[in-house]
């Protein structure tokens, strides 16, 4: 069943939060598989649970967790079974690293970039001394295109693009097998964004690291996508390869979403999706997109399964089942 080169396999991952209004089903029965090598984009609108998914994979949980269940296997080992301390020592940042949202603004202002990039190495005692840590930090910076003399500066002396590179270097310094990038370029200018994407593409070719890119920016996501997962209201509704997603996805939501993306080079009529996503507190029974879906029919009252319709192509819709 399990392919040999599977890097991470997520099955029925659930993360619910307790809030004053009720239980928020932020991540609900999410399953997907990513092989070693290709990178995946997880696309969804705000509030669909994509950041919670990243946090669930890395077990970076807030206090108000209600349910946290499912399976996450990395290289065939179920890391959900590990105790918190072992998870911290062996998985987080060592094998899976995260570039959190707006991370470039959360660098410590009174610590030099160098110390911040090398910090995980020293904490996990994976290097023999500061000299080796500096060496590793330097090579991580070269990888992301951050000039080496910037290492000796403080975060406020760097521009937004350079700070973002520093944060990506922090994630890469331990040479993890998987890096999750949560909206890495959304606060940056167009030219800087393109520069960072170029750097990420280069890293992908040079280093054996897979990326999961979480974003709402569909146009930019195509820069890094080999595979795509589309998220809606806490669930993954379609998983397919990039060519399929950007040209002719199956799920009505994916289609509508693609039709709403303005393009520069191609003339097309833009569409929008009327209505708004359902609340994740008591989400509707059945298909969660049904209310806004133009193709809905009787069967949509029951929840469709995420079914495989082609090789590596999964759709959660009764139309394709």
């Amino acid at each position: 069943m399990m392919k040999k080169d599977t890097l991470i396999r997520i099955e029925n991952l659930r993360l619910y939060f307790r809030t004053g209004g009720g239980i928020v089903q932020a991540v609900d029965e999410v399953s997907f598989t990513l092989s070693r090598g290709p990178s995946m984009v997880i696309v969804g609108e705000s509030g669909c649970g994509k950041t919670s998914l990243a946090r669930a994979i890395l077990r970076l949980l807030p206090r108000n967790v209600h349910t946290y269940a499912g399976q996450v296997s990395l290289n065939g080992v179920d890391i959900m079974q590990l105790g918190d301390e072992r998870f911290r020592r062996e998985v987080r940042w060592i094998r899976i690293a995260l570039v959190p949202q707006a991370a470039m603004n959360s660098l410590n202002p009174v610590i030099k970039i160098w110390d911040q990039v090398a910090e995980p190495l020293l904490i996990h005692r994976l290097v023999r001394g500061k000299g080796e840590a500096a060496e590793r930090a330097r090579s991580a910076c070269e990888l992301v295109g951050l000039p080496v003399d910037f290492l000796d500066r403080y975060p406020f002396e760097l521009s937004g693009g350079m700070r973002q590179r520093a944060v990506i270097a922090m994630a890469l310094v331990m040479k993890p097998a998987l890096v999750i990038l949560d909206e890495p370029t959304s606060a940056l200018d167009v030219l800087t964004q393109a520069n960072i994407m170029n750097a990420l593409k280069r890293i992908k070719r040079e280093v054996e690291t897979s990326f999961i890119l979480i974003t709402h920016d569909i146009a930019t996501s195509s820069e890094l996508a080999d595979e795509a997962a589309i998220m809606y209201a806490g669930q993954i509704v379609e998983v397919c390869d990039a060519a399929r997603f950007y040209h002719e996805p199956f799920h009505p939501y994916s289609r509508k979403l693609m039709a709403s993306v303005p393009t520069l080079r191609e003339e097309k009529e833009l569409e929008f999706i009327p209505g708004q996503p359902p609340s994740l507190i008591n989400p509707p029974v059945g298909c969660r997109f049904a209310e806004r879906c133009p193709y809905r029919f009787g069967k949509c009252e029951k929840e469709p399964p995420l079914a495989e319709v082609g090789a590596g192509h999964w759709v959660k819709c009764w139309l394709h089942n």
Partner: protein, 323 residues
């Protein structure tokens, strides 16, 4: 011709003085440095530029919120300085970037829309009510009665932005300044708001200044694009002309860097100029783009500020390549 022009911006400079220890002069931030353009009645233009290029400062000056250091703005042929500001602002609407921040959280939709009417002397409450219902129907927040008592936090992002648009339109302005009206919204809602703005623009023959950093959304309703870089408008042209025949090296870079959703992107690298936008406190001599430009003419671009050339009719570019 003259009376067709709604807004004329002539040689506007907006400099902010920096002080050291509160009283020593420490230089000027040249946020806008010599901008000229005309906006015709009922015309929509986009000002496109990266953060820190001065586009929002320019918008604030057009709204009369920041006085220009030098230069003139005239609206309907009359100088802004000579105008009654209350009367001017009733004719110019402002759509802010962040709808949630732009709406007072303690006021409901009725209060938010009533305030501008009350301030501008609509004393009759029935008249106010009628106008509010009219504008809410126009921005498609219907049934009106259902939305009137709602507070901003009870609305979705798209609905909040509609309330902001309704507020900017409630006094029947002739000009709308929209500063990144859709950048905080989700992809599926964004188009809806853009189409609404377009509809309103056509229905009321509005002048629109649409400020954005996203070139891809621009072509859907504006007629001309102004590209701003380092406090100047470096290129001005009709949308089609600019997208198909960009002249300024910066515009070209911007167009190259903007991605379309195309899986082929993953296989190629983009040619993007390295470096950062110029400091507006100490801008580079000559053309402000010259340190990043691939077509730099040594001895000219790094010495002398380029003039505004017009290589094709109606297509202006501030670049020595076209002298």
């Amino acid at each position: 011709m003259q009376n067709e022009i709604l807004l004329r911006v002539e040689d506007i400079h907006i400099w902010f003085e920096l002080r050291k220890w509160g009283f020593l002069h420490a230089g000027f931030v040249r946020a806008v440095d010599g901008v000229n353009f005309d906006l015709r009645h009922g015309e929509a233009v986009a000002i496109v530029g990266e953060s820190g290029c001065g586009k929002s400062t320019l918008a604030r000056t057009i709204l009369g919120l920041v006085p220009p250091t030098r230069g003139r703005i005239s609206f309907n042929g009359k100088d802004l300085e000579a105008r009654n500001m209350r009367e001017y602002r009733s004719q110019v609407g402002y759509v802010q970037q962040d709808p949630y921040g732009a709406l007072a959280s303690f006021m409901n939709v009725r209060g938010i829309l009533e305030e501008p009417l009350r301030i501008n002397g609509v004393r009759n409450s029935a008249e106010r009510k009628e106008r509010i219902a009219e504008i809410l129907t126009e921005v498609k927040l219907t049934p009106v009665e259902e939305f009137l008592p709602k507070f901003p936090h009870m609305l979705s992002g798209g609905q909040q932005q509609r309330v902001v648009i309704a507020r900017s339109m409630v006094l029947k302005p002739k000009l709308i300044v929209a500063d990144e009206p859709v950048s905080m919204l989700d992809a599926s809602v964004r188009v809806e708001i853009l189409q609404l703005l377009e509809k309103l623009q056509h229905a009321h023959d509005l002048g629109v200044i649409y400020i954005t950093h996203d070139l891809a959304t621009v072509r859907y309703f504006t007629e001309r694009i102004f590209v701003m870089y380092g406090a100047n408008l470096v290129e001005m042209a009709e949308v089609k002309e600019l997208l198909h025949n960009p002249l300024h090296p910066y515009t070209r870079a911007l167009l190259t860097a903007t991605s379309d959703p195309d899986p082929a992107n993953a296989a190629t690298f983009k040619e993007v100029p390295s470096g950062e936008p110029p400091s507006l406190l100490h801008p580079p001599a000559g053309c402000k783009f010259h340190p990043r430009c691939y077509a730099i003419i040594k001895g000219l671009c790094d010495v002398e500020r380029p003039l505004n050339f017009e290589p094709q009719c109606g297509h202006f570019v501030m670049c020595w390549l076209y002298k």
